[in-house]
């Protein structure tokens, strides 16, 4: 089994993100499983950026602590990442540009910049020299790297592709000639079967495209912006109108207009942007407008830590806006679930004629993960959409609470939607009986919804000594922690919630009743999820593993926590 981590780090502005993605892609195309993870401050230049790629011959779901190859683009990198180095880890650095003292791992001094220049490239291509050198250490097929570079830079012309490859070759040859001893990790190509490699944000974008989303309105906000970028880039190909409006208030109201008119519509933002959208969120619920809202969390409050991860918006998102209305909040845990949720959310929105929230976080949003296949079985369902009516009542009272939906513009009919409490026609009405009926109508949708939504999933053995629980992106590190513990003979399982509202109280109560010990794993300060579980099931999860420093969980630290709780 091969399982290693390659990391490139240094100051922002040196092309670290592109280089990292090339590395990940080179291995996902050689049949490997990949999970990559990036850290960067909210700066364009300067600050410490890292891109780490975990490569494995077996399925993986998260990043790992230990680094096997570190490409250090400055001296600070060598010092900062010392704790992650193993005895035999390689530290690649440009010995002609910096004086590094490698006290952890083995030094691999390579004149990256000189080799880049000598191979006919520019200084920035030193990263490619490092890529080539890394491939040589790992004994990996350079042809695959060339394929990735060609796909990425082909648009810029053959000359650019060649310059990039010449630099990679120079690094590859330099290692072959100067470091004769084989490196302790070898990663030869496994197969020609390429795996999909994408981020949670791309998966949400792709899922939306797959479900026929035809309108996307957004205002840029890290870490949600790459959904906007993906959809804007693909807008023409899939006939999607993408609008970057003046602010989030305009965004959600524009999205509501487009959705009301009949286009499948989505928007995406982070916590601060969603705060501005909150009034519009309730408007969508009151007017029964189908709309998909993506909230990609980052640590707060206020501007908080824009480029870091967190799960502190759970309670905010679940309770946003005045008064009661059917609230649906999905919490995908990985790229496959992100894709599926995005596609499914558009069906739910139209079927139940209400806004659907997909809550993600920076860790899921910006980390690439490989996937073997995606579930394309979901059929587009538009619910009670009709194309003609006489004496049309937009808010007709029905058994299910769902009224037949006619789009404005239908011949001979009038469609009235109203933010004020309204009667069946949509006209303002504040009478007691009407108010009660309309409130009940909207809330009734939850009964059917709760039946339709998939049950929370239990991963791992039924007879586990301990149950981990959580929502969203903690899934990856937890699944990998279970594997670590399994090897030590410790049986642990994981109850994962892919949606938190309406809360699946029965199944969660049942699963937790069987659990011997429970730890709630969350990226927030107060254990918001554990609190929610107690509110909905009466089960008090006293053991909590909480992290609110903006960093995601590592499988190693979850395993350590479990050992401690089990006193093993």
């Amino acid at each position: 089994m091969t399982d290693f981590t390659w990391k490139i780090a240094g100051p922002a502005g040196l092309g670290i993100m592109t280089t990292g993605l090339i590395f990940s892609k080179a291995f996902s195309r050689g049949g490997y499983h990949v999970f990559d993870y990036i850290e960067y401050p909210s700066l364009i230049r300067g600050g410490h950026n890292t891109y780490q790629c975990r490569i494995s011959s077996e399925a993986i779901n998260s990043q790992s602590r230990s680094v096997h190859i570190l490409v250090a683009l400055n001296k600070e990198t060598v010092d900062l990442h010392k704790p992650e180095m193993l005895e035999n880890s390689a530290v690649i650095y440009d010995n002609e540009k910096m004086q590094a003292e490698v006290t952890a791992g083995k030094p691999y001094p390579i004149p990256l910049t000189r080799l880049a220049k000598e191979s006919g490239g520019k200084e920035l291509m030193a990263n490619n020299v490092a890529l080539g050198a890394s491939m040589a250490l790992l004994d990996y097929d350079l042809g695959i790297l060339e394929g990735v570079i060609r796909d990425m830079f082909g648009r810029k012309g053959e000359e650019i592709v060649k310059m990039n490859m010449n630099a990679a070759n120079a690094g590859y040859n330099y290692v072959r000639e100067n470091f004769k001893e084989p490196f302790f990790v070898i990663a030869k190509k496994i197969s020609d079967n390429r795996k999909y490699l994408l981020t949670g944000n791309e998966a949400i974008g792709a899922g939306a495209v797959a479900s026929g989303c035809k309108c996307f309105v957004a205002y840029p906000m890290t870490p949600a912006s790459s959904i906007l970028h993906y959809l804007a880039e693909n807008a023409k190909k899939y006939g999607i109108a993408v609008r970057h409006a003046e602010d989030e208030i305009s965004v959600i109201n524009t999205a509501i207009g487009a959705a009301h008119a009949g286009a499948r519509t989505m928007t995406a933002t982070s916590g601060g942007g969603f705060a501005l959208m909150v009034e519009g969120y309730g408007l969508a619920a009151m007017t029964e407008t189908p709309l998909v809202i993506v909230e990609v969390q980052r640590p707060g409050p206020a501007t908080g830590m824009p480029t870091w991860s967190g799960q502190g918006d759970l309670r905010f998102v679940m309770h946003a806006h005045q008064d009661d209305f059917p609230r649906v909040v999905m919490t995908p845990g990985d790229v496959e679930e992100a894709y599926y949720c995005a596609a499914y959310a558009h069906n739910l929105a139209e079927k139940y004629q209400t806004p659907i929230i997909i809550m993600s976080d920076k860790h899921l949003a910006e980390s690439h993960k490989t996937a073997e296949k995606f579930d394309h079985s979901l059929k587009i369902e538009r619910g009670e959409l009709i194309d003609s009516a006489t004496d049309y009542k937009r808010y007709k009272l029905t058994k299910t609470g769902i009224s037949p939906r006619l789009l404005p513009g239908a011949k001979g009919a009038i469609v009235v939607a109203n933010s004020d409490e309204h009667n069946e026609y949509g006209y303002s009405c504040e009478e007691i009986e009407n108010r009660n009926k309309m409130m009940q109508k909207r809330m009734k949708k939850l009964d059917m919804l709760a039946k339709e939504l998939p049950a929370p999933k239990l991963y791992g053995p039924e007879d586990a000594e301990l149950t981990l629980t959580g929502f969203g992106s903690v899934k990856g590190a937890i699944l990998d922690a279970i594997k670590i513990l399994e090897k030590e003979g410790i049986k642990v399982n994981f109850l994962h919630l892919i949606y938190v509202s309406p809360f699946p109280d029965k199944s969660v109560k049942e699963a937790l009743s069987k659990a011997k010990k429970v730890i709630s794993v969350e990226n927030n300060f107060t254990g918001q999820f554990a609190g929610l579980v107690r509110e909905k099931t009466g089960k008090n999860i006293t053991k909590r593993f909480l992290k609110y420093d903006g960093r995601p969980f590592y499988p190693e630290e979850i395993a350590e926590k479990v050992r401690k709780v089990l006193k093993k």
Partner: protein
């Protein structure tokens, strides 16, 4: 068609003598004159007395939030550019809570008609100062008189790049009808500021005051932006008519995804395997 066909069965609750009655009449007449059927037009409303029109006017309607009818209208037009899209707003809505939306709608030249019921006071919340109230206006929220200068919506819209900027007085139903028609016919963002009395809460700017403080524009070239701005800056006696007009492609005409028809008519089926190819 006749204006009666645009009435719902709902009871009209505006105060007797309110300018809304005549604006309502003018809008119905304009739709009749332009032969726009109730099912081919949609109106996005804000919150305020004007917004009650959603209950009285028999067309497609969407009553949204205070200050936000413009983005809702933009969204509707983006999804279905075959519909006639109108946004109806009040002065608090348009020039207070939602001012930035007007600026941006003008800048983008969204093909939306914007009718602003401007009575220089907050009526529905029982008489506070509004963004168009004169400096010194004493009201429930400004007992010592408003400190702020009033907004100049005409000048602001012209500066923001609006391609149709006009003003009318609700008391002149004929002019109002004519200007609503022109605003609807205009390709792009059209602002029509409609001066109106509020009989309950604005005792200063009453019918008589407007008669004395407005005049009908004559010998004005609306294609001349500098002249339009000069007219817009006249505050003592307010010019009525089209201050500025320019022909430019609308936002929707420039969205390439709309070139083959509205979003609402596109097939939702996509080759799902193909979507994923770029991630291999």
């Amino acid at each position: 068609m006749n204006p009666e066909e645009f009435n719902t069965k709902e009871e009209v609750t505006w105060c007797p003598g309110c300018g809304n009655h005549s604006i309502f009449m003018a809008l119905k007449q304009a739709l009749v004159n332009l032969n726009i059927a109730p099912d081919q037009v949609i109106i996005a409303y804000g919150i305020g007395c004007h917004g009650h029109e959603v209950n009285y006017l028999r067309t497609n309607g969407f009553e949204g939030l205070h200050g936000r009818p413009v983005p809702v209208a933009e969204g509707i037009k983006l999804a279905n550019n075959e519909l006639n899209v109108i946004a109806v707003s009040g002065d608090g809505d348009a020039y207070g809570e939602g001012l930035s939306h007007m600026i941006n709608a003008a800048r983008g030249n969204h093909n939306v008609t914007y009718l602003v019921h401007d009575n220089r006071v907050y009526g529905l919340t029982t008489g506070q100062t509004s963004p168009t109230s004169a400096k010194g206006t004493k009201s429930k929220s400004t007992p010592e008189g408003a400190i702020d200068e009033p907004i100049n919506p005409m000048a602001m819209a012209i500066a923001a790049g609006a391609t149709f900027v006009a003003r009318t007085f609700a008391g002149n139903i004929q002019l109002t009808t004519e200007l609503i028609m022109q605003a609807i016919k205009h390709n792009g963002f059209a602002l029509l500021d409609i001066l109106q009395p509020c009989v309950s809460f604005n005792k200063v700017n009453n019918f008589q005051w407007y008669m004395e403080h407005t005049y009908k524009l004559e010998n004005h070239n609306p294609a001349d932006k500098v002249a339009a701005l000069q007219k817009a800056l006249e505050m003592e006696k307010l010019p009525l008519g089209v201050l500025y007009k320019e022909e430019k492609p609308s936002y929707e005409e420039q969205v390439s995804e709309l070139s083959e028809g509205p979003l609402t008519k596109k097939s939702l089926e996509v080759d799902k395997e193909k979507i994923m190819e770029e991630f291999l």
